[in-house]
Amino acid sequence: MRLKETIKKTRWVIYAAIFIVLLFIPRFLSIFNLMLFEYGLTFAIVGLGFNLLLGYTGLLSFGHGAYFAAGAYTVGMIAKYLPEAYRLEILIPAALLFSLIISIIFGFLCVRHTKIFFSILALSLSMLLYALLFKLYHITGGSDGLRIPLPAAFGFSFKGIRRPEFLSGTYYYFLLGFFAVSFVVMKGIVSSPFGKALQAIRDNEVRAELIGIRVRRYRLYAFVISGMFVGLGGALWTFVNGHVTADLSHWVFSGEIVYMTLLGGFGIFEGPVIGAILFTYLKLYAMGNTQYWMFVIGATLIVLVMLLPNGVAGAFVSLFSKLKRRKAVEGSAC
């Protein structure tokens, strides 16, 4: 028990150390790489939310782009229709609220099913949203999408400041703060009694029902929390990207969310975070160096599934435990 507690403590020390390093990152990275890193951070929040459903509840959604779009379009629509409310302190709660509403509606329908039926239903619902965003040109801007100006925050306006300056200054810390809070909150959720109930549902639905867990209702809770995290990621992402389009709700984008979670490893809490940041760099450098970037992404997916079923983070964990075992064996041999 003592050993377990020390491991736990070192874990939080490492988290804190990484957080401190992240505070100073804008000094080391070029503005281009910093922007990429910010994309990565927003996707990391998305990955955390997505993995509550995939890794902890055992539901694979191919439609999480919808909640990302819900968050992102909340920002876009407020910019277009309610410019006087275009302030961060209103935008973020609004995005959370709207992704909450969408994920309650979609989730209510989806959690009636599991496995492939769940995945396909989630996909179809997100495509429904895509069709709406794409076709309602006068409201949503259709395929042109919506422009995202720089927001005001707490009475402070960023007028006259260019986006790169905005992103490398205040906004980076704002984003990092949101990421840190999301990380800690999600860590709390997965290790809480509620999280244990979700894992029970993942492992054995029949038994979960039999210890008095209302399986469908808890699946819905997980779905909604997951949707809100993804929506938050979507809203934060818009300011980095400066533009939203209907593609965010397309299943290809949902597939990217799945991909980055697999890349990092869905069996490990930190996996999706690592996956999201890796994916951002991988995709951009692949895109920059070859027009066959999709080939690169596809090939890595094959390698991943064949060789690293637990993702990059999973590979590190098993390497680490292997080394530790070897050390223990050597130690006992002496």
Binding site: G188, S192, F194, K196, E209, G212
Partner: protein, 247 residues
Amino acid sequence: MLTVDSLKKHFGFVKAVDNVNLEIGEGEIVSIIGTNGAGKTTLVNLISGYLKPDSGRILFFDKDITFASPYVRIKLGVGRSFQLIQLFGKTTVLDNVRTALFSKYGMIRKGLLPAERYSSVTDEAIKILENFNLADKRNLTPTGLSEGDLKILDVAIAFALKSKLLLLDEPTSGVATSDKFKVMDSIISAIKREKISTLIIEHDMDIVSGYSDRVVVMHEGRVMAQGKPSEIMEDKEVKAIVFGIVS
């Protein structure tokens, strides 16, 4: 505490459970024996709410639960184990029991603090595991346990829900012969300590006569005979039909 009153369940022409009357008293351990297809598992499924009967009534502490959902019955205190073990495969033995306790106490809504913080629940889970001689294996996942330990864990989860009536569907099937008594010893001693009424479906006559207060013999959906284990073993009709011994 449990009264089964002229219960009937037919599947087409098959009379799986046909006019069964059964009474289980508090703290009593009752075994049901019978050939394959005698209707034992159907009866357990009817009592635990997995099937709904065609007619008849089930009373639990004078409360009619004939058509209550499994969820309601669990809350009332009807727990069961399965012939095929049903566990949470990727979480630790401790969490298997602890999650049941959290659910029992309505604490699974608590979503922010780690489960370890609720130390009274953890202590209680460890105490239950100690009761079943599993405490030293609490940090293993079920894949690291023997078949016998898995069976015990399955019962321990039902036990954690503070069931007043436990339905054990073949608690020793799949367990190595040499381990059978060890498994039953840990299960029965824990049950007796808490004076839980128990209904066991079992094939192994040594276990039936060793652990039960009363034996109910089922044949073709009906209760053919019941009584003390020693009496039942000597009953000629039972011998002929259930054990195939003609003397």
